[in-house]
């Protein structure tokens, strides 16, 4: 370091870092969380289904996603999504997809595998009698699931689902590898432009720490409250 720690560069780049970078990170996290939990719950229902092909397909998908590095999955979808898009709308050439939508699809598909395992444990924690009671009342599969099993499973698993979301929040920083301008990406761009790597990366680490630590403390409190009620 030639001239000590330069706080000024952080202050100067504040609007860019947060309005562009953090907005990208937070939007991506929220969208991937929503999509991931919905898709993951469906996968969990498939895995627990008595129809063999469904459970085998869902199991294979989950195990595949959990066996390869996230970075590789990001690369896969970054190149694959334009082809899938072209196939879906019947275009002859691969369509253009920006880094943001590519990331949303990647993280939804990837995190679904992890949310699936959490929801599967949640569904399995519900007493079987609950399902029988549902059927005895004349509810069908979707009604029993949607009104009896899933709400309870969701509630039991809420702390783990939120912890997984904090991990997702941290993992979105890996979109750096496809040059997206998330929080880390924005900081990296300024760090390289002004040659202030030490300041910017330290600042990024501090911000991630504060957010993740704060959220995980909240989750811990929530967990205690839920534990008291049960």
């Amino acid at each position: 370091m030639d001239s000590g720690f330069d706080f000024d560069v952080i202050q100067r780049s504040f609007p860019y870092l947060f309005r562009e970078g953090m907005t990208f990170t937070v939007t991506l996290t929220l969208m991937a969380m929503t999509g991931g939990i919905v898709f993951g719950t469906l996968l969990a229902m498939m895995r627990l289904s008595s129809l063999r092909p469904l459970s085998i397909a869902a199991g294979a998908y989950v195990n595949l996603m959990r066996s390869v590095p996230l970075v590789l999955v990001i690369f896969w979808f970054f190149f694959l999504v334009p082809y899938i898009g072209a196939w879906a709308i019947g275009a002859r050439e691969p369509i253009r997809v920006g880094a943001f939508w590519s990331s949303v699809i990647t993280f939804t598909m990837f995190e679904a595998a992890y949310y699936c395992e959490i929801m599967r444990a949640g569904i399995q924690s519900i007493a079987r009698g609950q399902v029988w009671a549902g059927y005895a009342l004349g509810l069908d599969y979707w009604q029993t699931m949607g009104r009896i099993v899933l709400p309870q499973a969701f509630r039991n698993m809420l702390p783990v689902l939120l912890t997984q979301t904090i991990i997702l929040f941290q993992d979105t920083s890996l979109v750096y590898v496809i040059s997206a301008t998330d929080f880390l990406g924005a900081a990296a761009k300024i760090a390289n432009r002004d040659y202030r790597l030490v300041e910017m990366y330290t600042f990024v680490a501090v911000v991630y720490f504060v957010v993740s630590y704060g959220l995980s403390t909240l989750v811990k409190r929530l967990q205690e409250r839920i534990a008291v009620i049960r």
């Binding site: 590095p69 590789l72 196939w87 993992d171 890996l174 990366y201 680490a205 993740s212 630590y213």
Partner: protein, 252 residues
């Protein structure tokens, strides 16, 4: 989808002149494993120490252990990678910092990557070690004391051997995580498997052949690790205990 597969690309020479693309990727697997194994050694040693510390009767020890865990758990891996690679050498004395920065490739990326992954994973190992120790009946420690062992001896001969045997299954998945997480080292220039798949895609323009081959290599590696660890688990299982599955956990 109109993508023309061309698998023969794997047998064509890569531009660096070291051999075929397939060979290039397999060497990448070698770097992945070399990074993961070295990091795993650090993770086990530090993780066992920190995990033990967090169950110690001294309050300050527990607090110190918790502090360590919270720091390295709440910063994304890629940011930690950058801290070790860009920031850490700047805070060392000038000579040491320069020595690190001037290490020839690939060591200039390999060493920070191993340190980073080792410390990152040690936190997760520490969590498991703590859970393993807590899962033992308290009588085990008391029995050790009653036999006249010092606290250190009790941990060394009574508690830790049992704890490690109990937490072997979660440690297996942590080891697989190290292998996967080592791919983040490509961001600081280490050409491990994923990094080489990306390089191959840039040289040859065969995008999906490169990534598909890397995926298959990762899957085979996982399979081998699972089989080896399953054999080990069977061998060291504590007789009389129901197989431990553990509570559902978040992960990546």
């Amino acid at each position: 989808m109109n993508y023309n597969w061309y698998w023969k690309v794997l047998l064509e020479p890569e531009p660096g002149g070291t051999g075929t693309y397939l060979h290039y990727l397999v060497v990448g697997l070698g770097w992945t494993l070399a990074t993961a194994l070295a990091a795993w050694v650090i993770a086990l040693a530090v993780g066992a120490a920190v995990g033990t510390l967090r169950t110690a009767p001294m309050k300050w020890a527990v607090r110190l252990g918790n502090f360590y865990v919270e720091i390295f758990r709440n910063i994304p891996l890629i940011v930690q990678m950058f801290l070790w690679f860009f920031v850490f050498p700047e805070f060392l004395p000038k000579a040491a910092g320069d020595a690190i920065k001037q290490m020839p490739p690939p060591w200039g990326s390999y060493v920070p990557a191993v340190l980073c992954l080792g410390i990152f994973t040690s936190v997760r190992v520490a969590e498991q070690v703590k859970a393993g120790i807590m899962s033992l009946p308290r009588g085990q420690g008391m029995a050790g004391t009653a036999m006249g062992l010092t606290p250190a001896q009790t941990y060394r001969y009574v508690i830790l051997p049992q704890a490690f045997r109990i937490i072997l299954p979660p440690l297996t998945s942590e080891f697989m995580n190290v292998i996967k997480n080592s791919s983040v080292a490509l961001t600081i220039g280490l050409l491990e498997l994923t990094g080489r798949a990306r390089a191959m895609q840039e040289f040859s323009f065969r995008v999906f052949e490169a990534f598909a081959t890397a995926t298959v290599i990762y899957l085979l590696t996982n399979l081998i690790v699972v089989l080896l660890m399953r054999a080990l688990e069977k061998k060291v299982r504590v007789p009389g205990l129901i197989a431990t599955g553990g509570a559902p956990q978040a992960g990546h």
